[in-house]
Symmetry: C2
Subunit: 707 residues, 2 copies
Amino acid sequence: MRVSFLLGSRNGVAQSARAAGRFVTWAIALSAAFLMTNAVLAQSCSNVPFVNTLMPQPAQLATAPGCMNVDSAFSVASVGYRDTRLDAATDRMLERLSQIAGVPRHLPILKDGSSASLVIRVKAEGDAVPSLDEDESYTLTVTNDHATLEANTVVGAMRGMQTFLQLVQANGATGFVVPGVDIHDKPRFRWRGLMIDSGRHFEPVSVIERTLDGMAAVKMNVFHWHLTEDQGFRIESRVFPKLQEMGSNGEYYTQAQVKEVIQYAADRGIRVVPEFDMPGHTTSWLVGYPELGSAPGPYEIQRTFGVHDAAFDPTRESTYKFIDEFVGEMAALFPDAYMHVGGDESNGKQWKANPRIQEFMKEHHIATTQALQTYFSQRVEKILEKHHKHMVGWDEVLQPNLPKDVVVQSWRGTHYLADAARQGNQGILSAPYYLDQLDQPAAQMYLADPISAKEQLTPEQVNLVLGGEACMWGEHIVPRTIDSRIWPRAAAIAERFWSPASVTDVNDMYRRLAVMSLRLEAAGLTHISGPEAGLRQLAGSENVGALGTLAATLEPVGFGVRYREQHTTQLTPMDHLIDSLRPDPPLRHELELMVDELLADAPHYEKNRSQLTALFQSWVAAQPGLDEMASRSPLLSDTRPRIEQLPELGHIGLDALLYLSSQRAAPSGWAASSTQTLENDKKHVGLTDFVVLDPLQKLVNAAAATH
Amino acid sequence: MRVSFLLGSRNGVAQSARAAGRFVTWAIALSAAFLMTNAVLAQSCSNVPFVNTLMPQPAQLATAPGCMNVDSAFSVASVGYRDTRLDAATDRMLERLSQIAGVPRHLPILKDGSSASLVIRVKAEGDAVPSLDEDESYTLTVTNDHATLEANTVVGAMRGMQTFLQLVQANGATGFVVPGVDIHDKPRFRWRGLMIDSGRHFEPVSVIERTLDGMAAVKMNVFHWHLTEDQGFRIESRVFPKLQEMGSNGEYYTQAQVKEVIQYAADRGIRVVPEFDMPGHTTSWLVGYPELGSAPGPYEIQRTFGVHDAAFDPTRESTYKFIDEFVGEMAALFPDAYMHVGGDESNGKQWKANPRIQEFMKEHHIATTQALQTYFSQRVEKILEKHHKHMVGWDEVLQPNLPKDVVVQSWRGTHYLADAARQGNQGILSAPYYLDQLDQPAAQMYLADPISAKEQLTPEQVNLVLGGEACMWGEHIVPRTIDSRIWPRAAAIAERFWSPASVTDVNDMYRRLAVMSLRLEAAGLTHISGPEAGLRQLAGSENVGALGTLAATLEPVGFGVRYREQHTTQLTPMDHLIDSLRPDPPLRHELELMVDELLADAPHYEKNRSQLTALFQSWVAAQPGLDEMASRSPLLSDTRPRIEQLPELGHIGLDALLYLSSQRAAPSGWAASSTQTLENDKKHVGLTDFVVLDPLQKLVNAAAATH
């Protein structure tokens, strides 16, 4: 709690910030509950204004008169179709409700809805295995002291339960309520995915399961599990045990664990689509089975990242026999109708270097290695067909003769999705949603729509766009850091996939994202606590002090910059300052808003002014603490320049506020030298970038223009 | 990172505090590493002073000249006995070392020690199943650029690896080193346990496993698993499935999960001793099998806490047949030689109320219900003997005819341990180590020794004291809060069990405990991040602001006070402010030290003065933020008085500093009224107590005495 003990003196800032309206709404929605047992709130809640913090936004929402109290008298009934999956989901909702609003734990699920606070009415089970065609729609109506959730399927009811939980808000200090609403909701896209690469760095089952909890909270429905890579083969095969025994450093999922994850996902209405990347990205397969390769080997687990030459030999029947047996084993393990076979970044070098393969290409009139890969893809597609799986591949598989059944996942560019559609193939968009691009703010990903207007697709072609997937590639993530890379940007992407295309207000998104971020933490994710724990390790103290002040102004560099500057491999420890920074840190958008409001001379002028002053002063005050830390921490040595830069930025900000206040004109040359400093500070330092430079430049320009 | 963004302005405080020497040592020891790949440190470390942050302290430690660099050239060899358990432990050590000091990941374990940085030499496997007689001793010598770890057993080597990791410290900003040391270490007690009650609240496997990681880090070796309670039966029985099906709300461990936990513990040299509490605390058994009870039933899962009447019928042979079959099933599942059968808090009411049982007592000349329980215990002991298990029981089982083979666990008082020894029974001390006594500081538990001097035991009797166990009872814990209740007080207790009795310096313990606390967080425990996440939920904001300032000055009330005042049951949500407070929060001991140093006019006078001034000012400044939060949070309503009291305390502290500075004499009546305020603030409010009142009283007294 030492961290907290140091928070007090800035409280004025926090308070005025909340009063300024940006935090107050989610603060209201999130105040946790404590109700003495047996206490029932007398006060009615008839006049509680609805504060919309829903994420994703529903398809249709209308406020209704009245509302219902959520207190120790709360009860729930399930009066339609019922099964263990629905009851388990209801129990999870009730447990969350007890955490949010102090409802007693282990409430029974009643059969009689006549007197229940919340009545759940489900028509039918829906798909036994979550599918692309699952009906996820629901309606949720809340009136005076009564709520009704109706859905055609169990999964639809689950989506509605998440919405119900998000509707709970505090009624001042008196208790918790759900305001009157009438919601008719269903997803815009059928495929709303998140991909995790367990190949380059292994992620334990506990990480996967908490990620599934986060996905359920934001209504995502496809977990794309990238299980094999050059750097690791992460799933147990009983048919070919040398795959995991020799290709994983002992870090792989047993089939029992995989079954557990699939069940965990299905219980939350989430599909699990496994990816077995081939013919490239297959080094780890070849360690145990070199005969699959296009070069003799021997092979070792690949430690470096990037595109490697190792590739299956597409000319040997033995290769397809192996794939057939392996796919057969995996098809029996994964119930989903789709299987991903990669197909990306196959450079063809081993094929060109192998005379026998060159001979084969001549014989079969295969002109290019791309064409050879198409031949391979077609053979693999037949194997998947035999095992009753639809094939998914990265956009390299999009070639003239690609079977129409194949789903194309666009990663190199949005246009591949349109190209696939024009060719009659279904598609999934991922290119704008690469979470390892740590320098891309949530807003940028939020505004990228799977349906690109400029591609001018026909309605039929638009229907071929199944949806999108956020991708979490594994080069630079470990269990402590993965959540801070995925969440909460993924919540904004999830809204893009679920909500109407017209929902595009960025400021409102950030307001709700801040609420969602705390909900996700309550659901067990560590995107806030992980970076904080990292800073404590770096500071060597529970009190991160000035290091926290600096960290709040920084974001990580993008994937490529780190890869080039740090020469990262699978052997590189991921515990540098960059690993304790969050993409799109809250201060970035908050500072933009504060500065814009200030310059617009908005009603919050004085509040923003005092808030900005305190912030800039904290940057100046941080220097001695940062110097002291740097003097004893090998880690911070390469970020040393930032320690000098932060106080400079603080002084620029304070000067700008002074000159803006018209008490004194900016001396000649001040604006120019300040601008030069801001320009210089844009350079990457120690794998970090400042997120505060643009609003500071605005302040400088405005200050210079005063008088 | 908003929290961190608010830390800057108090940095002067943190910095001077570190300079004052309390934090600098652990800061040095803990600075995390970042070494660019392939970078090798040239600089020698020959003159690095050894900073002792070891916890627990080793039996014998001598510093030696020289030291070794820990950098990207680090290598390890295992040259003696080797097996998969040793290699896995070595891999875990290497992974931690990469996090601490930037050593590359996935280092190979060499066979040839001639050029390795660290050479591990193990004589033999030791016990296949960790046992009470395991040899845990090891020697660790570090000289110039070379370290040797020698142990008779694999477990001994594991203990030494934990010590090696704790020896790594930063060499200024240049890199990481292990200073020259010569350590000969072995535990003082053979039984160093932690008990977790999974019965009253269920704890998932992930919680159990991270707890085992924490135990391994502080060299604890017995996990006592309290698996059955009135409120829940938490383990799958295949012989009597209605036990978990009807007695657990679906919250129980499958036998597969139990096997996983046992293996996880064994891999860390930790025994798993299961407890099946009988004849009392058995309501959850009787829900499915009422015929076991002494009253007809039917029974329901007990939601309230305390002592209940439900008890096995000790007069029916069918009871012992059931126990025999159940114990047989569990004996096959748990490999440990010991099994705990509870025996506590059996009130005998059902026995007295049952004519048939009364008849039985007459027939068999059993005068009291205590005697009837002894009869029951003897029958159960025979059953355990048949299944080759030694019996452990709570100290109620200590009766005249108790078989000598039974181990007595003292919980009602230390003297029961001595009584057991005098009666020739082995014993384990738990009475002083009840972690649910949240108002007991680490120092109090630390100074409680299993060997009580005043009991004047003979050497033979002393040998019957096996050690001790910290107990985490489950009435008021949930997965988010359990770590903050166990750690880091348990690390101080672990030192009591491992280190020589002469190691009793409380200030030095707290200095090292602060280091250990961060190590435990790095090991995956959430005793710091859990409460912080809780405060964010309460504040409804990522920035906990003033709530953090208040929380840092508060500790939770003890178990009994909460139980009485909140009327807690298993249905009570555990998300009140008390659940986001830590026992013995760092500020308590830190403030004591600062005030003592100030009043002693120590060299740090000025630093402490400015630090105290800033602290007291932060309490004054907290009020508006706390008022604002309280106005919108139902939860904080009952702590409202604290919001008024904190600024008052701040003013008292600031006034005292002023009068102490001799600039002005304290006005007459000031000391009296301040003392009255401090007295009044000692009352429990909202289940919280202040931890800052005693040092404030010291300041007031000293200020009043000035002039």
